[in-house]
């Protein structure tokens, strides 16, 4: 009895304190909102937003609803995060491997890179790229073409747009190629397990992924043309490029700094992962007659990935959350569009901040659930 009481009372008190604090907050919020004449509710989401957004992936203007503005912000956040994650991963893996290189110059270079970019605040890096480095780029009329088709100017990067015909046929052929590769891989594994023969899966896969889409061009009626950006004069001193896809400088600065910054952390994860695989593992693998490629593919990588992936996902999450710094350089992401402009216009602080936080929260919780599931799947099953 006494023991039970001892267990229950602290919990009750804690819960009581939490409830009291929240009750206090809600009570005050109610009174404050009454005093200021604000009513609580999410009805404003369907109202007309009447503000414009500079850069949007979906069709949007002032006549659309606040919910649409929210979607625009969310998509822009996702765009920055995805591009940033791709570049950060590529760079991070290269630097991480380079840090383990026997070449003294290379590993010192990689170490310098990591120590340099890791110890400078991300916001400062974003400001640096946006306000200092990208401002040194030429004006549109002075810009030279890179490879003949790209234009890097102070107003952004202009790249050619793809104009597809029968895009769906191309996509189908791509999907078919991927399915075929998976089937062949399963088959090859079966062949190896039953007969001990090794099929050249890698080369077959490469061939398939090129040949099938190529066939779709030749037979399927798919065609691809490019729309190359062209210089256009707006006024005597104002020029702009027309056609093609233009990436605003905010996006470039943001992805560049996010990728450079996060890559340092990913590099450390990769290094720790590869170092974490014991030397004995490699020697054992070599002693049973695997060649170096097989050692890497069958023994080192599966074990290294087990160490690398959880912290790397954390870094991906950090990158996604850090992309909210976009607000500092006016890239229209979720925080700027929704928690900035929309909040200023509607004054619905509680609703908007809570929606923004919930969005990020659900994003990260869903990724961490996925991660936990994956972790459990690949964890070593000890007997």
């Amino acid at each position: 009895m006494d023991l039970k009481l001892q267990k229950i009372i602290p919990q009750l008190i804690t819960v009581l304190v939490v409830v009291l604090v929240f009750g206090f907050f809600t009570y005050n919020a109610q009174i404050n909102m009454e005093n200021r004449g604000i009513d609580f509710g999410y009805g404003f989401l369907s109202q007309e937003s009447s503000f414009d957004v500079q850069f949007s992936l979906i069709e949007y203007d002032g006549s659309h609803s606040y919910f649409r503005a929210y979607l625009v912000g969310l998509l822009n956040t996702i765009l920055v995060s995805v591009i940033g994650i791709i570049f950060a991963t590529i760079l991070g893996v290269i630097v991480g491997v380079a840090r383990l290189s026997p070449n003294y110059l290379i590993n010192q270079f990689a170490a310098f890179y990591v120590e340099f970019f890791r110890n400078i605040p991300l916001l400062l890096q974003i400001f640096f790229w946006y306000f200092a480095a990208l401002r040194a780029l030429p004006l549109p009329q002075d810009a030279d073409a890179i490879l003949g088709v790209f234009y890097l100017t102070i107003k952004g990067l202009y790249v050619p747009a793809f104009i597809w015909e029968n895009l769906n046929v191309f996509l189908y052929s791509l999907i078919a190629a991927i399915v075929a590769i998976v089937v062949i891989r399963i088959h090859a594994r079966k062949v190896q397990e039953t007969q001990g023969k090794q099929l050249p899966v890698f080369w077959i896969a490469i061939g398939l992924i090129f040949i099938l889409p190529l066939l779709s061009f030749l037979i399927g009626g798919v065609s691809l043309s490019f729309e190359i950006p062209k210089l256009k004069q707006l006024a005597t001193t104002s020029f702009i490029y027309e056609g093609g896809v233009s990436l605003p400088p905010e996006l470039i600065a943001l992805t560049l700094s996010l990728a450079l910054y996060t890559a340092t952390f990913i590099a450390e994860c990769v290094r720790a992962g590869i170092q974490g695989v014991g030397k004995g593992q490699k020697e054992a693998a070599a002693s049973i007659g695997l060649n170096p490629n097989q050692v890497l593919k069958l023994v080192v990588m599966p074990q290294a990935l087990r160490i690398i992936i959880p912290p790397t996902t954390n870094q991906y999450l950090n990158l996604t959350k850090n992309s909210s710094l976009a607000a500092a350089i006016a890239y229209p992401d979720l925080v700027l569009v929704f928690a900035g402009t929309a909040l200023m216009q509607t004054g619905k602080a509680i609703e908007i901040v809570s929606i923004t936080m919930l969005t990020y929260l659900s994003l990260s919780i869903s990724i961490s659930i996925l991660m936990n599931w994956y972790n459990k799947k690949i964890a070593i099953k000890e007997k």
């Binding site: 907050f25 809600t26 605040p121 400001f127 901040v353």
Partner: protein
């Protein structure tokens, strides 16, 4: 002398290969060197595209010739082992050497040679180099923000005094060592707070917030002597009661003006800024986030399900949202949750928000340390008859914290690097001040210098912190 096969360097013709190889390598380096430092192009007679790759080809052939294993020369073996193991590595090494040589002159000229240091107006900065005059003129703003020039000695004095007080640990004799924890965890932050509030801000000692701090400090000190059975209840009830008693019965309104020092003007927190604000915010957030994080780490491993769920909720909530939205919340949403006449300063709100945010990360790091301890430690402590608090304070936490020093250091580094984000609530620390200075019409166009300056400062701070944590880790490393 045997026959020479140039495609296959071997040991028999070592000297020949060595001479040719080093000659080619040196030629290639000299070419790039002359090219970048003196803009002389000794391969200028070749077509431009060819003269660009000539040094790489020459250097590559040179490195190929000197790649001879077990040559007998120690230096050569060392070079081969470190930068010249195979063709691919040789090319990478060459590229890195060339990049360094190429990049040195422009960087040097921008930083030093063409830079302007003298003068105090924009006119002296006409060269192509950096304009350090800009930093010189704005230096006080970058360090102290909008803090009045005549009063800046207060910040300097406080920081020097706090640094001295902080270094007490190094001089403490064996006799006083056991009190150091108490000193650093409770007394020192309290002194720091007094300094900052009383001296930098110039406010009265007895104001609304200080009752809370006095109550907390007194109750924590007394709490050490409370039997552990009642500690939980003690800490739940006594501090609040003490606060209420202090606020309503001990210090009357008339007493508030009493603690004010004559001659110190009130400087509101909106005027604080620059690097000193970075330090103030980092300092207090570091101090607050650690105990909060520790409490939630213990809470997450608690046997009481309700406490555990509350801790998990807290940790996952703060870890799931970006700091910028937390600061948004503290700026626009938090005032709605408080009584209308209850005003909390912007800076204090910021510190609370950042502390709670980082506390969640600290909690996860400490939880990692707690989980890494073998069960035997818990069982041994329990079998000695230790209670929950005694077991954690004397057995578990010292070992767990030792394990997670790198993780905690990383979190603290992240905290320092996150401080510039307070621009969201309108406080301008050094990066914010840079952005303000950048838009000054008299000093347009020096954004680069400002950011480089701030980057160097932050880099030094963060690098020093990470090196210090590494030393700490080595110092407390124990074989298990």
């Amino acid at each position: 002398m045997s026959k020479i096969n140039f495609l296959k360097p071997d040991k028999d013709n070592l000297t020949t290969f060595l001479y040719i190889g080093s000659f080619l390598f040196v030629i290639s380096v000299i070419d790039v060197f002359l090219n970048s430092f003196f803009s002389l192009n000794i391969t200028g007679f070749l077509p431009s595209s060819l003269s660009f790759i000539v040094p790489i080809i020459l250097g590559f052939i040179g490195l190929y010739f000197i790649r001879i294993e077990h040559s007998g020369y120690k230096f050569l073996d060392q070079v081969n082992k470190n930068i010249n193991t195979n063709n691919f590595n040789a090319i990478l090494s060459l590229l890195i050497i060339f990049i360094i040589i190429k990049a040195t002159p422009p960087i040097l000229s921008w930083f030093v040679v063409d830079a302007s240091f003298a003068g105090d107006s924009k006119d002296v900065c006409s060269g192509t180099g950096a304009c350090w005059t800009y930093i010189k003129v704005w230096f006080r703003r970058f360090m102290y923000g909008m803090y009045p020039n005549a009063e800046q000695w207060r910040i300097n004095l406080s920081f020097i005094a706090l640094a001295l007080l902080g270094s007490v640990g190094y001089f403490a004799t064996e006799k006083y060592k056991k009190y150091l924890t108490l000193y650093y965890v409770i007394i020192y932050p309290f002194i720091a707070f007094l300094f900052i509030f009383f001296f930098i801000s110039g406010g009265p000692i007895f104001f609304d917030f200080s009752y809370g701090i006095i109550a907390a400090v007194i109750s924590i000190i007394v709490g050490f002597f409370i039997p552990s059975k009642f500690k939980f209840y003690y800490f739940i009830f006594v501090p609040i009661t003490l606060y209420i008693v202090l606020k309503y019965f001990v210090f009357y309104e008339e007493l508030i003006e009493l603690g004010k020092l004559d001659g110190l003007n009130w400087v509101e927190t909106g005027a604080w800024g620059g690097l000193s604000l970075t330090f103030i915010i980092s300092f207090f957030c570091l101090i607050f986030c650690f105990p909060i994080g520790m409490a939630f780490a213990l809470g997450r491993r608690s046997d009481f399900p309700l406490i555990r769920y509350i801790s998990i909720g807290f940790i996952e909530f703060w870890r799931g949202v970006p700091l910028i939205t937390v600061l948004f919340m503290s700026a626009v949403m938090f005032p709605m949750f408080l009584p209308a006449d209850f005003f909390i300063d912007k800076l204090v709100r910021c510190i609370i928000a950042i502390s709670l945010f980082e506390a969640a990360y600290v909690a996860e790091v400490i939880r990692g340390g707690l989980q890494a301890l073998p069960r035997g430690q818990y069982e041994a402590a329990k079998s000695l008859g230790m209670g929950y608090w005694r077991m954690h304070i004397f057995v578990i936490l010292p070992q767990a914290l030792k394990l997670v020093i790198p993780g905690i250091a990383n979190t603290f580094l992240a905290l320092v690097k996150d401080t510039p984000l307070i621009f969201v609530v309108g406080l301008l620390e050094i990066v914010g001040m840079l952005n303000l200075a950048k838009t000054n019409p008299k000093w347009l166009g020096f954004a680069m210098e400002g950011y480089v300056f701030a980057a160097i400062i932050f880099w030094i701070i963060c690098y020093a912190m990470s090196k210090y944590s590494y030393n700490l880790e080595q110092k407390y490393k124990t074989e298990r």
